[in-house]
Symmetry: D2
Subunit: 286 residues, 4 copies
Amino acid sequence: MIQKTAILLIHCPDQAGILAAVTDFISNNQGNIITLEQHVEEFEKHFFMRVEWSLENFSIPREKISEFFGTLVASKFGMLYNICFNDFRPKIALFVSKYSHCFFDILSRYESKEWKIEIPLIISNHEKFKYIAERYKIPFHCIPITKENKAEAEANEIKLLQENNIDLVVLARYMQVLTGNFIDKYPNKIINIHHSSLPAFAGAKPYESAYKRGVKLVGATAHYVTEDLDAGPIIAQEVRPVSHKEGLKDLKRKGKNTEKFVLAQAIWLHLNHKIISYKNKTIIFS
Amino acid sequence: MIQKTAILLIHCPDQAGILAAVTDFISNNQGNIITLEQHVEEFEKHFFMRVEWSLENFSIPREKISEFFGTLVASKFGMLYNICFNDFRPKIALFVSKYSHCFFDILSRYESKEWKIEIPLIISNHEKFKYIAERYKIPFHCIPITKENKAEAEANEIKLLQENNIDLVVLARYMQVLTGNFIDKYPNKIINIHHSSLPAFAGAKPYESAYKRGVKLVGATAHYVTEDLDAGPIIAQEVRPVSHKEGLKDLKRKGKNTEKFVLAQAIWLHLNHKIISYKNKTIIFS
Amino acid sequence: MIQKTAILLIHCPDQAGILAAVTDFISNNQGNIITLEQHVEEFEKHFFMRVEWSLENFSIPREKISEFFGTLVASKFGMLYNICFNDFRPKIALFVSKYSHCFFDILSRYESKEWKIEIPLIISNHEKFKYIAERYKIPFHCIPITKENKAEAEANEIKLLQENNIDLVVLARYMQVLTGNFIDKYPNKIINIHHSSLPAFAGAKPYESAYKRGVKLVGATAHYVTEDLDAGPIIAQEVRPVSHKEGLKDLKRKGKNTEKFVLAQAIWLHLNHKIISYKNKTIIFS
Amino acid sequence: MIQKTAILLIHCPDQAGILAAVTDFISNNQGNIITLEQHVEEFEKHFFMRVEWSLENFSIPREKISEFFGTLVASKFGMLYNICFNDFRPKIALFVSKYSHCFFDILSRYESKEWKIEIPLIISNHEKFKYIAERYKIPFHCIPITKENKAEAEANEIKLLQENNIDLVVLARYMQVLTGNFIDKYPNKIINIHHSSLPAFAGAKPYESAYKRGVKLVGATAHYVTEDLDAGPIIAQEVRPVSHKEGLKDLKRKGKNTEKFVLAQAIWLHLNHKIISYKNKTIIFS
């Protein structure tokens, strides 16, 4: 059996005594620290930390930890913080259009229980993958998007997300741009995969642009979605070498492998509470 | 003893019979083909080829090969071509400013005879590395560049290159932009190292920009210099993963390793006649 | 529509005139060469080649090419050769035990038509994935293996492979060792994925061994199966960095990503007739 | 000016309260923690930590820190610990034979002050690089090794190391095996570079073996030297892809790039007190 743990993510301006205050809070209440990682950004002098401890003998009840930590520690240092628990099973909404590689990869990890998640719904602007959703017995909502119906379509999507208490939205090569209105409701909770090593080749048709430029590496980038297209905080990215011998079709074929790996990596980091997003960059704890 | 070989680089519009015509030209004159590689670009339908053969029993004298090939084969297919010989020892001019990592790396490969080259001169806009040049007994020319003297300074540089029959100019983190006038005299004969994975972070201060953007990969790109800054044909590029823990200094330190490796790789490819540059992209033979 | 092509794989002792003979055979019969790649192994002086040409105007009928090439060219040079066609749709038998990652990945590529293959049967020593096979409407054969029934079980497997005209056997983390009797019937037609970067950590429990040794890279290797366990010709391999922070579970989780990528890469190379296996090594054409 | 810091490396059996005790020791004495990283090995339940803090207002004098920490903290937890200071300038002895790539690379980093080190002596079993040592004004000791004189030769080497207060021995492709007697005097203070990705191809001629086996990756490994040849704790390793087209000479040429990078990386980690070696594995702090 896996022991139950609490995970605390913190950030605040750097100042003396933070580490001792946090570790004392845990130790004094019989929490055994399993892992602790901190970071100070060199220019901003901003402090970041992730600490995980066993709840076995912890004397503060689970539902009170946030309040107690807030009052006893966070308020003294001006901390923003977030408490999560390792037995929490997040609910993911999958958005997909017509490319299957990321979509199938995520469903495979779900099926094999590699990730402890629920997928209460799949949303697509096409009918194409309805039969796949049915195979997995996941409700499928086809919401076509046109210039005219965009506001209404997004309102429907948001309603579905809220009714299903969605914790994370994954855009698995979903080929529609979300509006600021949608994004604002899920800050740092929408992960997109872009098929280039950003900031190179942002926007449409990155493989075509990469081929045209004659680069020797092609990649993919997973990032949190912000209003600025393809410019949100980068979570994970990877490239693979390509040669002149590889035509556009080869670039796309190769790239799909990178896309699905990078997106899965980003989702895993998010699910394991290993990311703090700050000023359009991410701190990725190990 | 290494056998003497000829290397033929060709490109022309794709058409039937090229391969047979070239291999016949070599075989019929008792040349034994050692390696042959061809490529057809899918959109332009343009044909590229590199073939290397032993000169041991080849019946056409070395100095006549180009003329014979031109008349008997190239003219029929509208080929652009270039004949080189593996015992040719190219003359490299090294340009450097104040960063030593690429400069020292190239000199180390020269010293150890890893590359069969001559370095008849080093040009710098600073005095800093004069003592290094002296150590290697390579003439060192300090040519400071200001807005006012740029044309004159470049004229001096070009004069030095011409007097020394320079075959290849290597900009080993030389921090001055060359003018079109200079570049036009050495088309596909000036290799620069840029400290980012182009096209990301072209221009000044790429490490600073990469740090600010929060990318998870930093890299370097070696390319032929064209008038369009950092936009010439890419020869080699590579990236390494970085994390939020790595400050700007770490990015620069790590990046230096990539820079010197990528630049050396590009020089090696050039020295071994493995590059054809076409429409701002490179064909890199293996 | 994709044009129909023939692909010729050749090897023989190196000798003068091979290239000209082969390209003449194709050109003289109105075949337009699309891609040609050759290689001479330096110590053995053995010649390898892959050439692909359009069948559009080729004057020799498809079913006669092998005979004509054999008589007119191959016999003169002592060549071993193989003619394949790009519209051939190979039949793959999937072997799996209890790990799903490679199995699901291959089925996803099959479902999305990334690969032009048929999968007429799945064989497993466990019932676990029967429901998956049913979902894809692929006949599933559960053939448990014990020490006692091994010969009989393999006889059943071979019978199934033969009845289904299987071209390629893929061991997608199939946890049984095949006997020489089985392997001899499918030389260079059985691809296995081993979860280490061979020759390191051959045999059982490679992740455990890698963890114990404290390596900083973990990888996977796809190879043709030979009687010598984990020692067949390597087709593809890849590693990823790991740190001390990654426990055994992390190594396995990370490794699965590498395994499925490397296995898929090897299958793709095989399906595209890009591999010649010679003296326990592979030539991989690009 | 760079601020002065102390770096504490600790390990001990895992137990409650370690983190709080250490951070309290630092905070209560006005030390500002700059970076802290800890790790618990999952099977051994062994605790490791690296913490660095500013000495600016630290109330315990530098030369007393070790004693105070030992008495007040370490003894209570059964810790092994080591205190170092960021302004310490370690003395390195370079051992080299006839390959220059790692040797030149290290000297280049020394020359450019990339590393804050002294190199009081170079030891070689050949005269070959005497002129290089002279160029850098570093005393060069040629100590040829034969079966007969090995004990005496090593005694001379050890004497030189001791006279020069050597902190770290770097074997930059030094082609002699050190005896246990030598190694015991410098535990975790001798770094070797082996030209394969260990544990693959340990022992002599790894490139030849890699070529023969037909691997698709070649690499290098830097490790602390122990009596068991090529089996000491791995500090850093890296591989690069190779293809069948790359002959043995190419493997060696490519490999040299990896060797010098990996060795430099390992030296950097050691110089920055980022390594704890425990039970033949390394903890590498970031």
